[in-house]
Symmetry: C2
Subunit: 417 residues, 2 copies
């Protein structure tokens, strides 16, 4: 623990700027170093006692603009999404109050004592569990991202949508989930050797159903009771959520009430009409469960403004459903040159990984890009490559490199480049 | 990522119970396996659309009992503490709304645009920074516990206080903190070679001042702007907090406004009259910065009840200001035998580490204990050993092994054993 953190000024400039082939001019990081009458003036808020204790804290009212942006379906009650404001956050954990939401028919209010989980189908025995029953089982906890299969789908549009980074890519969030390993309960129910799928159903009015291959269900899935330390919040599945690490969000069924062991998928609307792609060949791409590697620069990003030339820190998030992020490369010249950003340790598998890189902006217009590379060697593609592979009928599973243009006034916009 | 999670039922029983020298009777983990009319009855909350989206989520109203317990000083406005309800939480991250609080004169309401940090004293130049200035600097993020030096001080009482685990040991919480490495700014200010201390002052009405050895300040301290992804909440220091990893909580100055480089400590009340101990020798123990290793069993814990004999999972938290937790040992027979609990990976240095162990309760009264061992080899002491070392005048820095008695009815109480 004793070693000096390698994040000193010299490391910052050497690591980041040297990699980018730039030289930092002296003093670009210097703050307003005006002579000060040291400690002469105490601000008014030091002259009177402050506010009282609270049982449960809330963000400062000054941060009221940092909220989920809601995109609700006007014709179907409780159908829509809300977006995590990635551009306003730092670190890797998403506060639970800002975790993205996708609802098909609103948020059910479930009395925790009345909720039951049924495991049945091709099993030796059917089992039902109350939440209190489940809490007796072993618990495991893990920091994991969840990403909606429809995240970033504005990227399929012909023209780049002008909105904030979180409203483009914020159907992805990262929490510490804690719950019972699903494998334990499947083992107890006794899965028949003919079974190959697990059909999960939520207790909302939409009765969302999805199919999960049994090999995944028996591997690393969790029946989560807790999110970021406390009980899961209502919009994220209170009191029970299926967690399918690294796989598309819809599989992470909220308000989980039923798990049916089966020998074929349920072929529900959410896995046939939605969360699929019509390929150039005319065939549909279905059951594409694993979320491919993605990265997004959160600072600077659209809607933000750089105040003059000088050194900035480019910051962003990367994640992959295939495992750890091995590297994130950043280009500050529209893709002509790439430099490796610094990854914040620990870079956990299937979790948000924060990357940062120093950048000296010359004051001339340019385009910023980032691309994630995961431990399998998968490299986040350019948009043109993704379209060449998938065609123009895509709606889901968009993970191409995002491009932010910085104009001469320091304003940042979304471009295709 | 493909390997099977080792947390299956057999692993649970073999790892935990074998270690404890117990044998699990078949079926103790089995839930209510009554025959069910499969999926016949849908609960009422599936028959109507649920509630709407929210911009910022809150816990379920059903969890309203999971709050910070406030212990305020009746004679001094805004002076007191609030406790994290450790017994109700899982995983390692403390939700920001439940992070413990220690205030000396209430929570100041600071306009973020008006807040300034002054660095001065034995420096080449005095510097002032707005929050916007600081946000231009490199940011680093890290999951860290903060523990008040007065945490667990009920342990010094002659009789064991009867209250919940969090109200005994919950002046400790764990968050992901993100901010500017302090070393960067000290480097920029230019620290004089004669300097050895850094005096930090908060912008509350108490103007809390503490002294931090410069070697620590230049090592791994952060000027935190973010907690668990979002801006720090008011009661935790909005908009700026000094983070001193692994050292006692009072050093982690909230509402940080001033850092003075000096060649001696400030000898403020908080480091002379408080956060010190009168030793048996008659000397005072001061500047005992590093928080020693501690652990606490959160489940089962006082106020909870076991419902009959059978297998339970013992769960708890361990942490050390000296680095990583290497092991946590659990005794289910009052200290006669100890078994190694399973640590939830990743066990990060200077962060809460979750431990869990299966235990088959025979239904007879017993005492549960846990002891943390950190990477330096330090072993959490029994209470008698701590008292032998420190005497009976202690108030701060209590880290002895906690003992929970399970009586024949399954009720859990706090005992000295």
């Amino acid at each position: 623990m004793g070693e000096r953190d390698e994040s000193g000024r010299r490391g910052f400039l050497r690591g980041g700027l040297a990699g980018a082939g730039l030289v930092a001019s002296s003093g670009v990081l210097r703050a307003s170093a005006a002579p000060v009458a040291e400690d002469a003036v105490r601000p008014p808020w030091m002259t009177t006692p402050g506010q009282a204790f609270t049982n449960y804290g809330q963000p400062s009212p000054q941060e009221r603009a940092v909220v989920r942006w809601i995109s609700a379906n006007r014709t179907v009650a409780g159908n829509g999404v809300s977006w995590t404001p990635l551009q306003d956050l730092e670190g890797t954990v998403t506060p639970s109050g800002l975790h993205f939401e996708r609802h098909h028919n609103g948020i059910p209010q479930i009395p925790i004592d009345q909720h039951r989980l049924l495991i049945h189908g091709l099993t030796r025995q059917a089992l039902t569990f109350s939440i209190a029953d489940l809490a007796r089982y072993p618990i495991r906890s893990r920091i994991l991202f969840i990403e909606c299969g429809g995240n970033s789908n504005a990227g399929w549009h012909r023209l780049p949508q002008q909105t904030q980074a979180g409203s483009l890519h914020g159907l992805a969030s990262c929490s510490e989930w804690a719950g019972v390993p699903l494998a334990l309960l499947l083992d107890e129910a006794g899965v028949d050797s003919s079974a190959s799928w697990l059909i999960a159903e939520g207790a909302d009015a939409a009765a969302v159903q999805v199919s999960v291959p049994l090999a995944k269900a028996s591997n690393d899935c969790l029946l989560a009771l807790y999110q970021n330390g406390e009980r899961i919040r209502p919009e994220n599945g209170y009191p029970l959520r299926l967690i399918v690490p690294g796989w598309e969000g819809v599989l992470n069924v909220k308000w989980l009430r039923r798990l049916e062991v089966a020998n074929q998928p349920v072929m529900a609307r959410n896995e046939t009409a939605r969360y699929t792609e019509l390929l150039p060949s005319g065939k549909a791409r279905m059951f594409t469960f694993v979320m491919n590697a993605k990265s997004v620069i959160t600072t600077p990003s659209p809607g933000q403004t750089l105040h003059g030339k000088g050194v900035y820190e480019i910051r962003g998030l990367a994640w992959s459903g295939r495992g750890r992020i091995r590297a994130v490369e950043v280009s500050t010249d529209g893709g002509a040159h790439w430099s490796e950003a610094r990854l914040q340790e620990p870079a956990l598998p299937l979790a948000f990984t924060r990357f940062r890189m120093a950048w000296e902006w010359s004051g001339t217009p340019t385009v910023l890009k980032s691309r994630a590379i995961d431990e399998t060697g998968y490299v986040q593609p350019e948009r043109s490559a993704l379209i060449a592979e998938r065609g123009r009928n895509g709606y889901f599973h968009y993970n191409a490199i995002a491009c932010w243009q910085v104009d001469e006034d320091g304003e940042v916009t979304h471009v295709y480049s």
